[in-house]
């Protein structure tokens, strides 16, 4: 048994070591660039990302442990309706890059922006708005990171037989170190490798399942006989239309405003990279979603007991039990690299964005207001210290997460979308949008969203994101009517097509 346990550990361990080594090499290669401008290299990779890495890091950051564990688990229960709903995510990459990609990149280069909040500061000129945005980013990201760690550590425990803390320590510590030393470029390159690992892991599991169950036809026949509702889009009432509409907003259209995706628009090298990333990203996110969720549907042919109670009463147990049922210990170890890669790629990106918010958007701004500044070496020390301390904080919380973390995590995804959706869209496309409107929209929208989530209040059975986004829009218009119109400098910077070039 111990040898079996060790066999399943090897692939994960080697994969993590490889990521650590790559990050170390990236740090060595970035030495010169970091000496010149540490913040720019560390937080956005010196704007050097090519199309492939840009696409893969965007997809890997977006795909999380729930793509491979929670989602497939529900697909085991619901059937093809869940796959039909999950595929709405194919628009995520081309939407964010097509709408924001070029415009944000142009502005970011004009003002030398390193974070999304730098863009907001230049557009709205409001410290209150930027501090609020930084607080939301750090709070929601931290809760998400804890949840990611917990999900992956539980999966690790179920598949390898090693304890929860062993798994958490293994990939938790390594992701913290490689993020700290590699910075954005290291994160982007390791994300790309993680995205490939996710597809490989799921492909192996897909093949293993078909092999074990006697082929695709046998599984489909089992589903047709024992649970025909799995073959209907509405799954006989389990998948109402309101759920589809909600998901189009929550994991489709509104993901446009997620800061961890937008920051990638600041980091690419040239518009050729942007164009290729749009295609590659759409191919990869679709393949990943289809594979992971289809595996969930087909696991019905492996875990054939119709009652979830037979599998521990939680949909989160479905993927680990399928892996254990289908794969040998070594291949189980290879397969779980996929979900672990999804976790660490999300955590590394959120960790770096959080530390940039703390150091660049809050601390350095506070110094600047007092007429002080940090040297390049000071920025290096503080940025790396913030990343490592925050990372370890998340790690220790994940060992025994308090209930408040789960509450914040429940609000995190929709909360971030609500906070940034109109603020970003109006900021970039409506010259009259002002800081009062943006502040009201961000604060009012998030309060409305979190309150209705906590009290389980829904509008026409739709997810609370509809209320959050709707309230945020109303607050924006009210605040905008009260506030002052942006100055000519802002209008020329963000809307030169209407207010004239500086060169004119």
């Amino acid at each position: 048994m111990d040898l079996q346990k060790l066999t399943s550990l090897y692939p994960v361990f080697l994969f993590l070591l490889a990521l650590l080594y790559i990050s170390y090499r990236v740090q060595k290669a970035s030495k010169e660039a970091r000496l010149q401008d540490f913040a720019k290299d560390y937080f956005i990779g010196g704007r050097t990302l090519g199309g492939f890495v840009l696409a893969m890091t965007t997809v890997a950051t977006y795909s999380s442990v729930s793509t491979f564990v929670g989602g497939p688990g529900v697909a085991w229960q619901i059937g093809y309706g869940w796959l039909y709903m999950a595929i709405v995510q194919v628009v995520v990459v081309f939407l964010v890059m097509g709408v924001f990609g070029k415009k944000i990149s142009l502005v970011a280069r004009d003002i030398d922006a390193v974070t999304v909040i730098d863009i907001l500061r230049a557009r709205y000129k409001s410290d209150s708005l930027c501090n609020l945005a930084a607080i939301f980013i750090v709070a929601f990201f931290c809760a998400t990171m804890v949840a990611q760690f917990v999900g992956a550590a539980k999966l690790f425990e179920a598949v390898t037989g090693y304890s929860y803390v062993t798994g958490l320590t293994l990939f938790g510590i390594i992701v913290i170190f490689y993020t700290t030393i590699g910075g954005f470029k290291g994160v982007a390159i390791t994300d790309a490798i993680c995205a490939i690992a996710m597809i490989v892991g799921m492909s192996i599991l897909f093949y293993g399942m078909l092999d074990k169950a006697g082929g695709y036809s046998a599984i489909m026949n089992h589903i047709r006989v024992h649970d025909p509702a799995m073959l209907e889009p509405l799954s006989r009432g389990k998948m109402p239309i309101s759920l589809y509409i909600s998901q189009w907003l929550l994991v489709g259209v509104c993901t446009l405003a997620l800061p961890q995706s937008i920051v990638r628009s600041i980091s690419y090298k040239d518009t050729r990279s942007l164009r290729s990333a749009i295609v590659i990203g759409t191919v990869v996110i679709g393949a990943m979603t289809l594979l992971a969720t289809w595996v969930g549907v087909l696991s019905k042919g492996i875990l054939t007991n119709p009652s979830l109670a037979a599998y521990g009463g939680s949909v989160d147990n479905i993927t680990p039990r399928t892996i254990v049922s289908v794969m040998t210990p070594f291949w189980a170890g290879v397969t779980i690299i996929g979900p672990i890669a999804a976790t660490i790629s999300t955590v590394s990106s959120l960790l770096l964005t959080s530390s940039s918010s703390i150091i660049k958007d809050i601390y350095m701004r506070a110094l600047e207001k007092n007429g002080k500044s940090l040297s390049n070496r000071g920025i290096q020390r503080f940025s790396m210290a913030a990343t490592i301390l925050l990372g370890f904080g998340i790690y220790f919380i994940a060992i025994a997460p308090p209930s408040v973390i789960w509450k914040i995590n429940m609000f995190a995804f929709g909360g971030l979308e609500t906070a940034f959706f109109w603020v970003m869209i109006f900021g970039l496309f409506w010259p009259k949008a002002n800081s009062t409107g943006a502040l009201w929209a961000m604060f009012g929208g998030v309060v409305a969203y979190c309150t209705t989530m906590a009290l389980h209040i829904r509008l026409f059975s739709l997810h609370q994101i509809v209320i959050g986004i709707g309230a945020s829009l109303i607050f924006f218009y009210i605040g905008n009517a009260i506030g002052r119109e942006p100055g000519d400098d802002v209008k020329r910077l963000f809307f030169p097509d209407r207010f004239g070039d500086d060169e004119d």
Partner: protein, 90 residues
Amino acid sequence: MKRSEKFRRANHEAKVTCLATLAVILFWTLAGFGLSAFDISFFDTPLWVLAGCLGTWLFAVCVSFWLAEHVISDVDLAEEDACRMKGGHV
């Protein structure tokens, strides 16, 4: 290229991307819900699953290719960096 022209293009590309997203939503609806009324299967899989899931993915890939090749144009971003170095927009 003048900066105003770059922004004009970026605005146009953003609008077309929104319309492209609507096209994917429309395809997804017709291919999935639309075809679910028919009891047709290929390779042991209902047609609405193949069209609504695999089909939507392939349609989205085609849309993204069209956006990348025919809508989103190349602009020289290095000009913005150079301009900033000279103190143009800061």
